[in-house]
């Protein structure tokens, strides 16, 4: 996307060097927790600190596999269940809704779009207390559903707003052609439009998953049993109880980052698209 003219060879090399330096500084914290998770507890507290573990220690990961209270792989699984659940709800509801607001005009449409825009900017705090009381009455409190339902409220408005632009950009002629071929509005939608909108749907799926994956407030407030909690809440608990066990904590953190890193490596294109299309235009 570089919009400036080509640079001289010398400048090119210089800028490359600067960019590497920038990345070393800005991404240092990530490197630092990875390295720390591979050190022994003793080496972590050593001065001067070592920038690469003297002896590779995988114990922080291994003990988590077996032990009870803060089993990070169980929390990991809970997080996957919650995030995938929230993602499915977001997609199933947001795809038709965005098509509806993009291709039809009906009474109250503007108000509905405005509603989605505003919910995207909502603080979690405003939902925490009322949902907590509602869930208590609905017997959803302390179930994974409580968090899945709450997390989907972040994914839905985002997805609707991104996909709205996507559907709007598909020419009407395509739908008309489908009509002539004997499709009705619903089958046009499912058989013709959804396949075209696939890249947009992937963006929304990725973001709905990531929003839910990163959530702490809902998972921590609505689920009380450690066995059912997502990994972020697990880490927070662990931090509260064994605040200085940094080898375990950083191992916990690395495991939490793994899915994010994978998504990042394989879907970078979608992420940048989602960030720019979702945020600026709404």
């Amino acid at each position: 996307m570089g919009t400036e003219r080509n640079l001289s060879r010398r400048k090119n090399i210089l800028y490359c060097a600067i960019s590497v330096l920038i990345i070393c500084i800005l991404l240092f914290p990530l490197y630092w927790i990875l390295v720390t998770s591979l050190k022994t507890e003793k080496e972590i507290f050593q001065i001067p600190p070592t920038f690469w573990p003297k002896e590779l220690n995988l114990k922080s990961y291994m003990t988590q596999l077996e032990r009870g209270d803060f089993n990070m792989f169980r929390s990991f699984r809970n997080s996957i269940v919650i995030s995938v659940g929230a993602m499915i709800i977001s997609i199933v509801l947001a795809v038709p809704a965005s098509y509806g607001v993009a291709k039809f005009s009906f009474k109250g449409k503007k108000a509905i779009i405005l509603g989605f825009l505003i919910t995207q900017m909502l603080p979690v705090s405003v939902l925490l207390t009322p949902l907590f009381i509602m869930y208590n009455k609905m017997h959803l409190y302390n179930t994974v559903w409580s968090t899945i339902f709450a997390d989907a409220t972040i994914g839905i408005p985002f997805s609707v707003l991104v996909l709205k632009n996507f559907f709007a950009s598909i020419p009407d002629e395509l739908e008309e052609a489908a009509y002539i071929d004997g499709y009705n509005r619903f089958t046009t939608f499912t058989k013709v439009l959804i396949p075209i909108a696939k890249p947009g749907i992937v963006v929304c799926g990725v973001f709905s998953f990531l929003y839910a994956w990163g959530d702490l407030a809902y998972g921590m407030t609505f689920i009380i049993d450690q066995q059912k909690r997502p990994i972020t809440a697990g880490i927070f608990n662990f931090l509260g109880q064994y605040g200085t066990k940094w080898s375990y904590l950083t191992a916990f953190a690395v495991v939490t980052i793994i899915p994010v890193a994978l998504i990042f490596i394989f879907m970078q294109k979608y992420i940048i698209e989602g960030m720019t299309s979702g945020a600026v235009k709404g």
Binding site: V20, I22, F106, I156, F264
Partner: protein, 300 residues
Amino acid sequence: MNRIKKFFKYDNVGMLFVLPGFIYMMVFVGFPIIYNFILSIQDVTVQTLRSDVKEFVGFNNYIQLFRQDNVLTLSIWNTLKFTVMSILFQFITGFALALFFNKNFFFAKPVRGLLMMPWMIPVTITALMFKFMFGTDVGIINYLICSIGLISENIDWLTNTATAMPTVIFANIWIGIPFNMILLATGLTTIPQELYESASIDGANKFHTFKEITLPLLKPTIDSVLILGFIYTFKVYDLVYVMTSGGPVNSTQVLSTYSYKLSFDMFRYSQGAAVANILFIILLLVSLLYLRYVYVEEEV
């Protein structure tokens, strides 16, 4: 039958597509917002949570919160400080990086892509990471500034009332840089290249082109970035909660953490709801301002 047919032919069928999502949002967002307001004018604590009759107290919760101690006023002030300082540095750094990566060098695209990472990491992890790095004895930050001789004794960054807020802000800046950078970078690509070329023919220097071409043409993007940044930063919860839980002595207490503390540590649900409502109303006003600004010419 005829009527149904007519209904389906008409564009109202679009409503059927929207309805499931709309109902969902009404149940899990619309109703809770209203309920939150009702809670804030009732008196609900852990004792009255399960009883069916709840006492209406009007705006007493709000009045009491402002009167009983200074924590609410302090939280509002802290939230503002946190937001303004975060945005200021995020924006400047993000802008500088956007300009730098707009140059056409070999690593520009891949490195810029990698810099998105901080934005994607779950905030809980970011908080933990900085808590570790700013740790008093274990932290690398203390080691680094100690070894260049700036300090002789370790600073207890997160447990000292003077340094806790700047440390939390520092962590938040790290999260926000990619967001600012990518939006500004996208904005930069929309500026026609010819403008720069003709400016350089006219002999304008770099500072001048930046001031006369880049800034004015980028203004819509800059405004969006700043307002959205304000909205996203003003409501930050996880970062502060994991790093300090609002402490020490409320020095990092922001509206979101204060609301949480009232509701779920002190079980004063109504007061927690009242604080959340204040946060909500501020954000609603800013959001409406933003939407009005973005959609002023464009049809929604």
